[in-house]
Each structure stands twice: as structure tokens, then as C-alpha cells.
Symmetry: C2
Subunit: 358 residues, 2 copies
Amino acid sequence: MEKFFPYAQLLSFTHKVFRQMGCSEEDASIAAEVLLSADLRGIDSHGVARLSGYIRLWQAKRINAQPVIKVIHETPSTAVVDGGQGLGLVVAPFAMKLAMEKAEKVGTGWVAVQNSNHFGIAGYHAMMALSKDMIGMAMTNASALVAPTFSKEKMLGTNPIAVAIPAGNEPPFVADFATTTAANGKLEILQRKQQDTPEGWVQDENGVPSNDANILKKNGSLLPLGSDKTHGSHKGYALGSIVDIFSAVLSGASYGPWAPPFPAYIPMPDNMPGEGLGHFVGAMRIDAFRPAATFKRHMDNWIGRFRSAKPIDPVNPVLIPGDPERIMEAERMKTGIPLLPVVVDDLIAAGDLFGIRL
Amino acid sequence: MEKFFPYAQLLSFTHKVFRQMGCSEEDASIAAEVLLSADLRGIDSHGVARLSGYIRLWQAKRINAQPVIKVIHETPSTAVVDGGQGLGLVVAPFAMKLAMEKAEKVGTGWVAVQNSNHFGIAGYHAMMALSKDMIGMAMTNASALVAPTFSKEKMLGTNPIAVAIPAGNEPPFVADFATTTAANGKLEILQRKQQDTPEGWVQDENGVPSNDANILKKNGSLLPLGSDKTHGSHKGYALGSIVDIFSAVLSGASYGPWAPPFPAYIPMPDNMPGEGLGHFVGAMRIDAFRPAATFKRHMDNWIGRFRSAKPIDPVNPVLIPGDPERIMEAERMKTGIPLLPVVVDDLIAAGDLFGIRL
């Protein structure tokens, strides 16, 4: 059974772990906040459950806890950042702040990042823009788990896209999704429950449709959003490719099947064409287009109209992107964050490494 | 049976029609070129088959053939353009040129457009950036045909996204897709053949899955990319929403279910919250991130690697976005453009209006 932990307790624990890894006080704070934001928002696969994975990457010297993060090229509206092999949890907020500074000056800012690592949930970074009346965007490439349409080979990560758009009285519009039919985290849930996947989520090593939630361990692959050609998988494949190219080809990171794997036990690919993992973030100042108050009034109207769209079943009203995560966050701030025994054991072991108690 | 017409003949005919509608020589040229690019690239639903639809909108005074296209707000990297109720075929290239001028100066340019009309294929506008070593993007909102996840009400258009990325020796990467499982044009093909749709493309007026290719005429709706919640339709719904918000809420156009309908016989919605249809286009100078030659070398490597991804069936190798359209264009430049008798009759009737022979 799951056990509930208060947010503050997990945040403090995670902060201490990052400090012990050698992160600065400031970096440990932001890294812990980004990581825990996934647990709060219900994206459990990207939260503290991954902490031990980051530690193993640090032990394997694939993560530098004291990175030199550098701007290696820039124009008024763009920059390329070298993440110094740091935690993506730290590098991505640096890049997003830079994008927002540029947006402040010239209307928009776009930052491509090389030489980074897994950055947690894309939504966190995109949402940084909201308080400044900006639209925020964040995407990242990731370890190859996804086969393009017509292929049986894993070539792309689940390559998420997040877009956060401010509203007025309504909560913001926050889309944050993997460019696959189902995120890897959904497979992990089914694995624990020893259940099969629905049709259209995965295929086996020969490219034959499968329902096996463990198929990725057997050379199978995830399918792009759309599942198959008839249902538009070429569109999901194109989206995942755009994320890969913006995040890694534009930045000088390692792309496609050469993206560095998250599990530290998987060897790094041969002949990597770039440096580490890549991200792409952007910020657009609303009033670079129209007055923010006017825009937000129309967003309230947009959101209100979509919420009132005729439901198929009144029990399931139409949701606005970001609704489920926001509701989850409010709930978990009260109830605490539920962790599976295997995750708790993992955290305790991680703490023991550094003499920190959960 | 279809009849084949040389590209030059259809281009000249279309140009003359736009001239007779009152377009300037320059506007008629670009409008004809954009419209015909759809036929060349095999997106027959967006080509000359729509010419009579544009004429009817002009007759209904919803299209102004001599629009005053104005920049109504700008910053170094952004602008909002008022399309003066012009042809989107003319307004969108204006906006894209402006985005490219801004990208030339400050690295990127982003232009939101209000008070426009249907702009043809998104891919044409995105591809304008390629010759300048820029990445081009284009999107537009459109008449509401798509129901959000959990809804039975048409709230969004098929809201396409196009992204064009230059390569070196390889042809460019050009993604151009509706954010639905299937584009409306695919339904039209099935209607003509009197065939059913596959599962997951459409639903009926009660939100029940349907296979009826004519269901849109019976208050049914298209489904967002992903088809249903289990297969990620909330992602397709989010994508279509982002296109709607960027194109119309950011620009001051009319959004969501209030988007102006393309068929001139459908009355304009009541209480429209903005002006006309909206687009959003962008250009990013490659060397605002890294040297264009280096980027293009890596794009060649990316494309080559993806082309060689292990195919499920060697008869269907992995394609790069833009491959099918480019192959079609080369073919149709030679063979001519096939038009159905109903389309030919429609064009002849359109020509008769203005005393022009096909």
C-alpha cells in the first residue's frame, strides 16, 4: 500500500540529498522544487521516484553537481546554453530565466540547451513565465523509447511539449504531454498492477502490436501519438521529431537514438553527435502582441466557453489542459504525496548513502 | 474519372480569377501560387477545389480582394497584423515576410494575424523561411469541426501546424498536419467513394463513435489526434487549442466555436469575440543558435539516420516529414494535376462568372 508523505518533508529530504551531492544551496533548492512539482501535479514517474536515478547518474559521473552553466551564443531574442553536464532540474530554469529576460527586452526569448540532463516535468519550466504575463514553452529530448511510423527501432524519446498560457480570473491553460500515445509512466503503473496495456500503446521487437506493459524490456517500443498510420501516428512522430530537432540539433546536444539514456547502467551510445541531452524553452510577452489585460479577459472567455462545451456524459465535463494537475496539486498539498513501498525503500537507501533520514 | 491539367494552366486560370475578383497583380500571383501548392503537394482538399469557395466568400463580402493589410502592434521580435479581411493566401505570406525580417534583425520573428481568411496549406508559409536558412512555422484556426475530449460539441477547427526545417544535401524536413486524427480532406475522399471511415476518426451528434464519412453533415464531429482519451485525444485537443489561442486569442481574431465558417452559406456566428480568422507564423534564423552549415550537416545526419531506421516491412521504409508531398510535387509537375469531374465543372462555372476559360 502507498504511504503519504507531507510535501514539506519530501522537499526538505530531496534538498538535503542534492546538497550532499555537492549542489549549491540555490541549485539544491530549485532542483528539489522542480522534482517535487511532478509529485504534486500527479506525474509520479517524474518526481522523487527518480531521485535515485539522478544519484546513479551522478555516481557514474554523467551529472556534474557543480556545473559551469554558460551562454555560448546569443542574439537579442535567442541563446544557446551549455548546461555543463548539470542537473536538467537546474539548467532548464536557468535557460527559462534567460528566455524571459530576452522576452522582457524584445518581445520573445528562445533558448536551446545542450550538455544537460533530465529536466523533470516540462510543465514546471513553461509555468515559470506565467507570473510575468508571458506564455511559456518547454520541451526536451530524452532516451530513445519510441519507434517512428513504419519502424521497429527506438529512435526518439517520449519528447514532451509544455505550453503555459496565462488567464485572468480562470486558472492558467497548462498543456504538458509526451508526444507518444501513452507516457512511459503509464506503462510503469500497469507493470506494478501486472496488467496489459490497451491496444495502440506499444509494439514488440518486430513491430507487431502488443499489449505487454513490459515490452520495452524485450526490445519493444512505445508508439507515437496516433498509434498507427491510420490514426495519425505520423503526426506524433513528426511532433516528437520537432522536439528532438529543436532541443538537440539546434543546440548541439545529442539527438535521436544517440540521446544519452537516463538509466545509468545503460552505456552511453557510440559516436554521439552532440553534447548530452538537449532542451528548448521559450517565453513570449503577452503585451508584445496585445495588452495583457485584454488577452486575459479573452482567455477567461475561451476557458469558460470550452468548460461549458456540451459533454457526452455530464459526469465527465470538458476539461481545460492543466485542470487535472492543478486539482491534484491542491489535494496533495493537503493529503501529502502517496509513495509506493518500493519508492520509499529507494528513498531510504538514497538517504543512507549520505546519512540523511527520510 | 479524373482529368489531368498542367500546373501552368491551372496557375494561370487561378491567377486570372483572382485578378477579376479585383486582386492586384502581385496579390493574384501569390494567391494562385499558394493555392496551387496544395494541389502540387497532394493536399487536394486545399487547392483549386476550394477556388469557388473563396469566390463565394468574396461574393458574400466576407473577403476583401483589395485589403488594407496593416501592422497594428510590434516589438523587435513580434507583430500583430490586421489582414483587412483579405485572402489568407495573401495575408499569411505578408505576415511570414515580416516574421523573417524580424528574425533577420533579432534572431526570431513571430507574427499573429487577425481579420484574415483561409490561408491554404500551412506548409507553404512555413517553407518560405527555408531559402533564408531559417526554421519556419505556421498555424491557423479554422471553422469549428472538432469536439474536445469528453464533448459532443464542435469547438475547434482542424487547426493545422506546419514546421519547416532546412537541411544540407537532404531535402528539408517539412511537417504539415491537422491536429485531428484525420484531416477533413480524408473524409471528403471517402464520401466520394461512398466508403466508411476507420474507427476513431469521427463521432455522431451524441458523441458516440461513428464510421459515417458524412457524419459532419449530421451534427457529428471530427476527433482530435489520439481519437479517444485512452489513446491521447486530450493531447490532440490541447494541440488544437494551442493553435487556436496563438492564432486567434493572441491576435484579436475570433476563436473557438466563433471562428468564421469557410462555407459562405453558413451564417457568421453571433457575438464574435474578435476579427475574422487568425494565423500565427514564426521564423527562427538558424545561425541565431549555431552556424547554419553545422546545423545543416547535423540535419543531414539526423535525416539519414531516421531514413535507415529498421523498417517493420522493407516495402514501407521510414519516411521523413515532407517526403510524400515532395515526391507528389515532382510527379505532378510532370503528369499534371488530376481533378475530379465535379471540381472541373466547378472551375468552369467559376471561370464563366468572369468570362475566363479554363
